[in-house]
């Protein structure tokens, strides 16, 4: 285990890359699922699936990093409940960046639409075609997404509170350009 005062560059890059891709995949998912069937819808669903699989791969890398590193400690001033909440949110987010793409992948298999990564690499269907199961998995995918939306709002809100109200330098650990004193 490695501990440091700031997140490593690997962790920082993975964090922002995943965040950025989720900010694309989420609204794309919402938009495309309300479209009438059209060539555009089929294209967007494919793009969404490719984005989602990319997030999944990055999430696996992120968890592999996390297994070998302990994040920098939280500020002394934080209360016990705040520490508990912080850990809970972080762990749930780790869980969701795996579970959401997985539910999407399984949903696609159950609905009988295989995932072909970037239109070239067919991913195995982990489950067989089963329409009823596909409908359930769609609900699961949707619910997990709304769960993540709530957590992301809390996560971003907390980060901004730390930055602008507590001014404890927490955000700079993940966003080094904010760290004026300790520029790497």
């Amino acid at each position: 285990m490695t501990t440091s005062a700031r997140y490593t560059f690997t962790a920082i890059r993975l964090h922002w890359l995943i965040a950025f891709l989720i900010f694309a995949a989420f609204p794309l998912g919402l938009y495309m699922s309300d479209l009438e069937l059209s060539p555009l819808k089929l294209q967007l669903i494919s793009y969404h699936k490719w984005l989602g699989v990319t997030i999944f791969l990055l999430a696996v890398a992120r968890l592999a990093w996390r297994a070998k590193h302990t994040p920098p400690p939280l500020p002394e001033a934080m209360l016990a409940w705040q520490r508990t909440a912080t850990h809970a949110v972080h762990h749930l987010l780790y869980l969701l960046i795996i579970a959401i793409p997985l539910s999407g992948w399984l949903m696609s298999s159950a609905k009988g639409f295989q995932t072909v990564y970037f239109g070239v690499l067919p991913l195995p269907d982990l489950i067989g075609k089963d329409k009823a199961l596909g409908d359930i998995l769609k609900e699961v995918h949707e619910l997990l997404n709304y769960g993540m939306l709530g957590l992301v709002i809390a996560h971003v809100g907390a980060a901004l509170k730390h930055h602008f109200i507590d001014r404890d330098g927490i955000l700079a650990r993940m966003l080094p350009f904010l760290d004026k004193e300790n520029r790497p």
Binding site: L37, P39, G112
Partner: protein, 181 residues
């Protein structure tokens, strides 16, 4: 008079071929297809069709077939797709409820493989079609299995915005499995 002619011509054609059309066991037979959407193979089936096939493994050249597919019985993989493909730009099943294949000749390709040549009519358009197949005799039934590519745009299937073949490929694989008694 017309009816008499029709009966005569029916009789003469069955005499000419010298074989009765075999009974196709519809509940054991299938007509399926695989389309490619964004390079993803998507399976579908036609749930209703009629098939008259006569083939004598000893004399396949005398074989003939007439297949009629009830296009509205399509299951294209999802409810959305099923509604869409019955519509005007796809099959337009209201005006063109059936796809019909009528064989003209059957060729032997050797080692249990054959090829039926014939005419396929879909959406008012008729094209030459060739369907290679295998024949297997099994416990008193004859099993006929084949696969052939069909170019959907030649029949105007999926016109307008759907004619973009980078989304839905032109080529659709048709897979048939007939059990004859």
């Amino acid at each position: 008079m017309i009816r008499l002619l029709a009966i005569l011509s029916l009789l003469s054609s069955s005499f000419a071929y010298g074989a009765e059309l075999s009974a196709v066991q519809l509940d054991k037979s299938t007509i399926a297809f695989v389309s490619r959407q964004m390079n993803v193979p998507v399976e579908g089936i036609f749930q209703q069709f009629s098939a008259q096939i006569s083939i004598d493994p000893a004399r396949p050249e005398a074989g003939r077939a007439r297949i009629e597919i009830d296009l509205a019985s399509i299951d294209a993989g999802s409810t959305d797709a099923n509604d869409e493909v019955k519509g005007k730009s796809w099959f337009n099943t209201r005006e063109f409820p059936k796809a019909v294949f009528v064989s003209s000749t059957v060729k032997s390709l050797g080692s249990g493989r054959f090829e039926a040549l014939g005419k396929m009519t879909i959406k008012g358009k008729t094209q030459e079609a060739r369907a290679p197949f295998t024949l297997k005799q099994e416990k008193g039934v004859l099993i006929l299995d084949g696969t052939f590519p069909l170019k959907r745009l030649a029949y105007d299937i999926g016109s307008g915005v759907w004619s973009d073949t980078s989304v839905v490929a032109d080529e659709v694989l048709i897979k048939f499995h007939f059990v004859l008694k």
